[in-house]
Structure formats: structure tokens, C-alpha cells
Symmetry: C2
Subunit: 382 residues, 2 copies
């Protein structure tokens, strides 16, 4: 099943080859599943083992993977050249990769490598350096495809819009369940269930759900809790369509919000507005972070915020849906139209154990970004 037309994949390949030309690369070794999916449709968690997609500057592509992924690649991608390495005590898949590169005429070539991806563990990376280091000249090309991927095509934007709709629906499904005595497990099942039932995908990382003092956490953890009479529930979730993510974040107040909740929500909303005003072509990802940080500073909340306030979203695989570029201090990458960016205002006040979060996904344009969620930014009371 291909989620995009052949012409879309050809256009992506052409953008890649152009950039490889700029960087004088004869070939690329892709290890990121996100890159393989973007370029060919190959959709798998097969990157848990060693695999590599080789792309030559003339557009030729060959995949080396394990037996369990041979049919997977055939059924989900435009690839037809697929080789298999076999598990056994003495398996040396990187030597098989070298033989493949040799057959492709790449001895002595200048080859870009995706080193900074969970598709290549440090151990496998050491094998690549050792076995290929004298075969070819290896150049770090980890951010080449991620930066191409950051600007979405119209077909990709359609997918993100659908993902955003699923994310809104998930919240609508959960909201009636959020009340004193409710079990977090029911709320999580309702949100994730809604997205899967509508044909959406698993998220690249588990949804975040935490209440009470765990509302101050912003990662998934095992173990559910029942909500108190007065409580705070932090949720971060994403709708996912054809692996494209659209994330949302909210802290829902059960019962009576404290003054601190109201204060922090007002600050989060003001910070998000400052982010929206900055998330425009001409500004950098660092500028967006600074706009958020300035509002936090003005409200004397600097020590309660995190050191990043969002990131690019797209088709991502585990362990995280966070894509590059990120909004952090000093990031010089420039905002361009057609990016899908998640901005999250997270204020965790450990002193009073008060949590407040507010986040949504935007489509950048030539001016103000378009929010992709229909949910209001008001403090949600349940």
C-alpha cells in the first residue's frame, strides 16, 4: 500500500539528488526509517535491526535488510532491488553492505551517511566505520533528508491535516471521561482507541498522561492513577495518519483550578501568542524559542520552563515523534512556508506542584501560521 503517488516519490527523489549534487555526494547510506519512508514509502520497524538503503547520485536505490522485511519492503514501497542478510552466529551484514556498494561501483566514492538516527546504533555505526572507512570517503549527512523533509508537499500537508483532525477527535472522546474518580487508563484507552479506530497509526512515542504530582512529567511512564476531587491532568498526544503526526498538549483541571493554575495558564497562552507572532518566514527556530522565553521571563517563570518549546513534526518512527529542527536557544535554521511545527508551552512549578501546558501544531505560511487544531486555547475545566 503506497500512501502517495509515484510522482510524489519522484519529486522527493529529485530534491534529494539535487541536494546530494550540492554536497558533492556520489551516494547516501540511509539508516533512518523516516528517511526511507519519505523517499520510497518503505514502512516498517525493521530498523530495530541493521538495515541500509543505498541511494546513488543517479537515482538508483538498493535496500539491504533482514528476511522478515523483504515482503514488507515489497508491499509498502516503490523499491524493487532488495537484498537480504541472514541471522546466524557469524552474520556480518556490513560486509554484505560493502559488497553491495562494490557492485554499485562505489569503491572510492564520496558517500553521505546518516549517523544521527536511531536506525543506526553505536555498535552498528562502529562496524560501518571499520568496514567501509577505507572502501569509501564517509561524510556526515545526518541532517540532509530531515531538512528536506521539514518542508512539506501539498500531499503531505493533507496527511497532517487528517492527523490533526484525529488528534482533536481523540480529545473529544476523552473529555467526557475526565472527572473525579476516573481512571487514567480509561482516558488513555479512549484517546488512543479513537485514533486507531479511525484508521490512524500508533504514535512514534506513547502519549503522555499524568495527574496529581505526575502532571508535572512530560514523558510516558507505566502505571495509572485515579483522579482526585480537585486534580490536574497533563496530556500530550498526536493524531497520526500515514505516519504523519499532529500533536496537541493540554493540562485539564478537574474540580476547582488554583490561582496558580489560572496564572500559569495566562502566561502559557501569552507565550503561545508570542510564538505564533514569531513563527514566520524571516525568523529562526531560535527566535521562536526566545519569544517564548521572554514571556516566561516577564512572568518570573524562567526556572519552571523547559529548554526547548517545540519542534517539527512529520512522518516519524519510534522512539519519538520529535523531529528536527527544534525550537531551542540559538538554533539558526530559518522558518519556511509549508512546515508543520508543534509549539508547546510547558510550565512545571515544582514548588507548588502545579502543572500547566498548552500546545498545538501549526502549518507555516508566508505570514502568520495556521493552527491545525479546532480546540480552543482556554483552560479546560472538567
Amino acid at each position: 500500500m503506497l500512501h502517495f503517488g509515484r510522482d510524489e516519490f519522484e519529486a522527493r527523489r529529485d530534491r534529494l539528488i539535487l541536494e546530494m549534487g550540492e554536497q558533492k555526494l556520489d551516494a547516501m547510506l540511509l539508516f533512518a526509517q523516516d528517511s526511507m519512508y519519505w523517499l520510497t514509502g518503505y514502512d516498517s520497524f525493521g530498523f530495530c535491526f541493521f538495515q541500509c538503503l543505498v541511494v546513488k547520485a543517479d537515482g538508483e536505490m538498493r535496500l539491504l535488510t533482514r528476511s522478515a522485511d523483504l515482503r514488507q519492503a515489497r508491499h509498502t514501497s516503490i523499491l524493487d532491488a532488495i537484498a537480504v542478510w541472514r541471522d546466524r552466529g557469524s552474520a556480518e551484514p556490513v560486509i554484505e553492505l560493502r559488497d553491495m556498494l562494490d557492485e554499485m561501483g562505489l569503491l572510492g566514492a564520496r558517500i553521505g551517511v546518516e549517523w544521527a538516527t536511531h536506525g543506526l546504533t553505536a555498535a552498528n555505526g562502529q562496524q560501518v566505520e571499520e568496514r567501509l572507512g577505507s572502501f569509501a570517503t564517509l561524510k556526515d549527512a545526518s541532517s540532509l533528508i530531515p531538512l528536506l523533509r521539514a518542508v512539506k508537499s501539498p500531499a503531505e500537508i493533507d496527511m497532517v491535516r487528517e492527523a490533526a483532525r484525529l488528534a482533536d477527535d481523540a480529545f473529544d472522546a476523552a473529555l467526557p471521561l475526565i472527572r473525579p474518580g476516573a481512571d487514567e487508563a480509561d482516558i488513555l484507552a479512549a484517546m488512543q482507541g479513537e485514533i486507531l479506530r479511525e484508521g490512524g497509526d500508533y504514535p512514534a512515542n506513547p502519549f503522555i498522561i499524568g495527574s496529581g504530582r505526575d502532571a508535572l512529567l512530560c514523558r510516558y511512564k507505566s502505571g495509572r492513577r485515579e483522579l482526585d476531587e480537585n486534580d490536574q491532568l497533563t496530556l500530550e498526544w498526536a493524531g497520526v495518519k500515514a505516519q504523519y503526526h499532529a500533536a496537541l498538549m493540554r493540562t485539564v483541571i478537574v474540580g476547582r483550578p488554583s490561582d496558580r493554575h489560572l496564572e500559569l495558564h495566562a502566561a502559557a497562552r501569552e507565550a503561545l501568542q508570542a510564538v505564533e507572532a514569531t513563527m514566520q518566514p524571516g525568523n529562526s527556530f531560535g527566535d521562536v524559542f526566545d519569544a517564548h522565553a521572554a514571556v516566561m521571563e516577564a512572568h518570573e517563570l524562567a526556572r519552571h520552563r523547559l529548554s526547548a518549546c517545540g519542534y517539527s513534526l512529520g512522518a516519524r518512527y519510534a522512539p519519538s515523534w520529535m523531529d528536527m529542527p527544534m525550537f531551542y536557544s540559538g538554533n539558526p535554521v530559518l522558518i519556511e512556508p509549508g512546515m508543520t511545527l508543534f509549539a508547546h508551552m510547558i510550565i512545571m512549578d515544582s514548588d507548588s506542584e502545579t502543572a500547566m501546558t498548552l500546545g498545538r501544531t501549526y502549518l507555516t505560511t508566508t505570514a502568520e501560521p495556521e493552527p491545525l487544531s479546532r480546540l480552543p486555547l482556554d483552560l479546560t475545566l472538567a
Copy 2:
């Protein structure tokens, strides 16, 4: 929230320190979230960024992670020494790690490193080699904790039993939905929803669901399908409790099974019985694979099987619940009592586009392994 008592964590730490002594290691750099969780309870997908848990031979432990995981580590683990590195353009977390090791008196020490984990990308691994290679002697210790983890404590076995119950419940929830015209999306939502609703966790990889010709796939992919009048539906899923997995695999026949389905099911069942007879102390993981392969061979199915037939299960993080050791040809690791092992018989006949799978999780004992599922091994007809 700790899922185990302090004494359990102390016992694990003692096993680790003993093994570090055997291997003459002054310290370990843990990068696998699975290892961190096992040793301290630290439960996060924070390994998507650089983080490291340092363990000294005297039992001292210090975690270096990002700001978003400071509270996460505090709330979920026994750790109290937690340092934070900050995102910024010039962030050099590995230098901060070196400073931490220096403070811990580890200059010139012999340090074991987990290189073979998705918790350390090749790019971060290069940084570790570059920044620490002359600071200390780095030794590969990737399989040290995984091999300790492979033998479960009674408290862990309780978790796996609960996970196995969730897996059975998920199938019970899905079975009434499997019929001609059913949408795979509803089936997947029912299975995953049941596990989350009962307080279980997300699986370390998405459940596998595929019908028609995609029943021959054994990875998750995006995109759902409706079942035909006569169809085959391959499901691979896991119940997960406190991150401990118990997996199951079935191909369910909708309508009338073909003769080939019946033939392949009989072979799969026979192979699984051969595996059970071999999955006992005294035999190796390679022997278990060979027992499965011999049955496949006898039925002339050698070219339709995969090159591995199962693996250890435990508390695992993305991108895959497959733990080491695996059942593949020549794997010399010996079966011991107290292991939780998943055996899957997978026969994918591309010629006739017929799929058949049969798999379940076992607890090894001093003799025959105990199946942890209550589901029958008969061909499931829906």
C-alpha cells in the same frame, strides 16, 4: 511510582556488581533504557536524546539526562543523583558526561559501555569514543545487562503473567469483531484499547495486523483494510504490564480455510511442539531454532520460514519488544529456568499467498516450559 520493592532493585544491583567484578570493570555506561529501567525503575522514552546512567563498581549511580527527564527520573526511579544537560546550539553533553566521570574518580578506569542499543545512536557513539577514548579504557559491555535480565526474578515473572493475561484478553476482545467486511482498524483498536484500559502499557513496537496478501507481512504498517468473505488475518501482539511483555501470534481464518492453510497450520503446530520439547535447560537457543527448522524441512517448508523463530521477552522500550537472546541458527546461549521466551512459527508461502503463524510466550522451568497463554493452539476460524 516504583513497580518493584527496594530489595528487588538491590538484588539486581548486586547481580550487576558481581558480573562487573568478573569482567574487571570499574564502571559501566548504560545507554539502554531497558537497562536503566531494570536497574533503577527509571521509566521514560528520554533515550530519544543523549542520556547516560553511570554505575560504579561500588554501586554509586549517577544519571545525566535532559531537563524534560529530571522529574521523570525522580518520580519513577530509585535514583537521586541526576544531572541535566541543556539544549542549546553549542550543547556538548558528552563533555558534561566526561566531567561527571572525572568527579566520580574514573579517570583512567576500565569502563564497560552499552554500544549495541537504540539508546545510543552512531553519532552519539562517535562522540563518546572521541571524548572518552583517552579518558578511560572503554570495553564493549552491550550484552552484560541483557543476559542478566534474561533470567527473571519471581516479582518479574508475576508481571509477565499479568502481561500474558492482558494479551489473552486482547484476543478475546477482538475475536467477535473478526468477520467478513470487518475493518482491521476496529480490530486493532479493540486489542490495543483492551490492554490500555486494563492499565497495561503501549507495546515497544506496534501490533502487527495484516490481511489478504498483507497477512504475509510480519511488521506493522500504516493503512487498514476490510476483510473479504474468505480471508486470512495475521496478528502479532503483546500484553504489557510495568513494561514487561508477553507476546502472542495467530493467523485467523475468515470463512473457509484452504487446504494449504490446514497443511501449514499442522506444520506450525508440530514445529511449536518440537520447540517446546527443546526449550529446556541443557539446550541452547540455537538448538531451539534447529528443532523448528527440522520440522519445516520435513514438510518442505524451509524456504517459507524466517531465519529466526523467537526471542526473549521482558521490559523493553521502542523500537522493538524483541530482546536478546534470539532463537537463530548457531546461537550458543543456554536455556536457563526463569526465562520468559516467545516462540513464533511463521510460514509465509508467497507462491500461493498463504500465511500461517502460531506463537506464544513461555516460562522456562527445570523441565518442560510453561505456556503463559490460555488460548488454544487450534486454527482459529472466524
